[in-house]
Amino acid sequence: MRPFDYRRMADLQPVDQPGDRLIAGGTNLLDLMKLDVEAPRRLLDISRAGQDRITEHEGGLRIGALVTNADCAADPRIRADYPLLAKAILAGASPQLRNKATTGGNLCQRTRCQYFMATDTRCNKRQPGSGCDALQGVNRNHAILGTSEACIATYPGDMAVALTALDATVEVLGQGGTRLIPVAEFHRLPGDDPARDNVLRDDEVITGVTLPEPVAGRQIYRKIRDRSSYAFALVSVGAVIKLREDRIARVALAFGGLAHKPWRDPQTEAILTGQPPSPALFDQAADALLAKAKGRGGNDFKIALARRALAAVLTEATEE
């Protein structure tokens, strides 16, 4: 490994020097450092810097950035009012990792693209301008929506998919003060600058995530994967669905495993809203969701799988 400096921080402050990296649970960063994908000059350890509580907030909840995934998923208020979030978190990683991983860190989880993690291959995210070996390579678990010729990596996490469906907001502290970013706008599409996973600026730090007032309806997290635990999603769906008089009164859908960010498609939701549920309607919604989907060989199957995942979730959510 490369030598680096380490400092434990008493407060949650943005980084102030190039080469500094914040570390909390380290469940992603340490792996990437071992692989030489990340090579920080200095680690600023914020794991004891507070922000580790879940508090009432404007009718909803505020989750401190350093609340662990395990604590968040176990919180009675989360389990009662935002079960989608608890389910999504528990669908990810392993208990040991969830004990360490934090809310803010998990939002910043980097892609699992095997080329990104291999410094002997070409990757525009890791080394801008070098090319993308995944385009024609092993790309079974790569993105089908919102990709570019520069990058087809996915955002791999589960928690952010749930937060996106729940209309959560990321609270960010920078030199100029605090700003609020809807989770759906926190991650970005790769475009021609895949090096940036999200809109967080270099001098900003996530301080928390706020959840709006709970909404009525069924909450479902469905994660489709090759094995039943400890595998990243091929496709995942976070859904909040409210039925009224046999019609879909309200629906929020977010998808994991399909894109460089948790994917939310207003048109898909609009097609479903106000309609009586039926397989034909679900198909129509899938048509809208996947209209621009593009497979790259290994991941072609995700188009069919996403359609069926959506059907499964909508069927489950609208059953008697």
Partner: protein, 728 residues
Amino acid sequence: MSDSYDTPDQRNLLDQTAQGVIGQPLDRPEGALKACGQATYAAEHDLTNCAEGVLVGATIGCGRVVRIHRDEVLAMPGVLAIYADQAMLRRNAQGTAGEAPIQDVTTVDYYGQPVALVVAESFEQATAAAKALRVDYDVTTDADFDPAAVEYEPSEEADELGDLDRAMDEAAFSIDRTFTTEAHNSAAMEPHASIADWDGRKLTLYGSFQMLKYNVKELADSLGVAEKNVRILSPYIGGGFGSKLGISHDAVSAALAARELGRPVRVTLTRQQVFETITRRSETRQRLRLACDRQGRLTGIGHEAWVTNLPDEGFAEPVTQATKFLYAGQNRRLALSIGRVQLTTAGSVRAPGEAVGMQVLEAAMDEMAEAAGIDPIEFRKRNLPAELPGEGLPYSSRMLTEALDRGARSFGWDQRHQQPCQRREGEWWIGMGVASAARVNILSKAEARVTLRADGGVLVESDQTDLGTGSYAILGQIAAEMLGVPIDRTDVALGDSDLPAGAGSGGSWGATSTGSAVFRACEAIRATLAHKLSVDVDELRLKDGLANDRPVTELLDKDLVETGRIEPGKTMKDYSQASYGAFFCEAAVNAFTGETRIRRMTGAFGFGRVLNAKTARSQCLGGMVWGIGSALTEAMEFDHRTGRLMTHDLAEYHVPVHRDVPAIEVILLEERDTVASPLQAKGVGELGICGAAGAVANAIYNACGVRLHSFPMTPDKLVGRLPDPVGA
């Protein structure tokens, strides 16, 4: 007595002895040490002044090393040396090679191949330096990395009988299917590691190996030293599964560096290096042709397989091995072809041949039974040959019918729907599948020393290894049983190449072969005791330290030491020998997503005498877990442009996790096989995997009506072929 086992030992001596420990489900004596972290594994030995070596892997798939930029790395903190020695291993040794594998790391045969060793004072320094080492290559641009794009040639003469083409034409029912399986890695829990320590000309190597008598020869030959100057210590091993049959890069590079530096050197492979540089199981393409008459009697079997390896490797995955003896059919064609690719060395991975051959054969048998309209159990039973097809040899013993029947009863096979898509629970299609298990039985040359100490205790010694399989327990049980000594007065020393040469662990032969050597050593001691008592050896009764009711210590003025030996003999040639069994699987397939989850499995196995019911059961359980992985998840995925392995860690290479493994029932069928060994025992180590994935595939079909011919059966392969989830 001749060492070779030429005539079946009909005495069944282990049924006449009185101690009553043979077969008992005793705990492994070293189990507590392992559970408490007290068993010292290869990399954990703490040697004074030990330097740390880290291997540097090639970042090309084929070519030559032109230049290594040593100077900039030699200047890094703590760095002691960089080796790119001609003696360093380019490939690891195949099982039972007994000589140096291909050496000289200036040529690159596959991506990730070690090209240099960096040694430093600390592991961290060595790792940093290894990553920083720049290597210039001359890249071979037309190398073959894609098994689908190379030419194949016969690896051996095809085994033909009758006229299969005609049998197919004339059959009442026939199928002709081509299956594929992906490459597998053993993924043993303990990565390969070595610590080399020279004392003058004598090398002591702490390593993780399966067959020390061969490993000593391989290491000595690689280093150009005499065998007598090489000692290997391998008392505890964190799994091998074939990957530690032969020596690997760590052993030779550690020994070379330690010799140069005059101090101990440790080399441990990273998890990624284990995947990239240690023998893989070849991917396979397999064509199965089955023909039967109206009564469901097989008239033809064709099993042709295409596998790969590196150029100049002699090993070809023996895919059709069990097809030769398992089922009837007078018209047969078994053939194996090999293609050459620049991917990691292909070699033995748990149950070479049967592991992937049986799962495909058994999936094909299920299709054939369906085509013939016969229950798949009945179809199998109807097609068991009376003697080895084409050769007329008798079977030593064969519990296949019993395994199918006992397993079916316990599993509840009568609840199975004959047609697929008949049972739905919520989103899940539920189905049941069956498959036969079969694995060749091999007796291997072995030697062991048994001491009946003057104090009445027993010591068993052999270089036999224990991969976690139960060698310590079983060899102690055999000696305790034969000598009438309580098990807690029986010590077993293994894993030291200075001890008598056991059979080693591999090919499912360790327990029966080295166990037979222990048995014979004990027989010699029993003869001495009988002589001292002036009784015929048949009249000897040994139990709890008493010999015919006299304390055995009264007969001993000194230790009695005997060495027992066994070699394969005429019984290996005169009979077809195999262990048998049957698998039953209940699988759930998600009607929407194509995810498959195993709900329960039953395995029933007959492999001669059960030497320890607990360790035997564990072997079967482990095999069936491998079967689940082979059926559903495991695949080495290479980038065929470069030969780079993209699934090179346990996050990407999916072995089953706990949630993938349901309650598994194991039924051990008691049997005595006097042909197989004086213990009347056959091998069990690999049996549990041989066909297991076929039962899963057949359960998937019975659940959702989709016949996949491609393992592993991941959701991507099923999703496009599933019936309408809602309409059905």
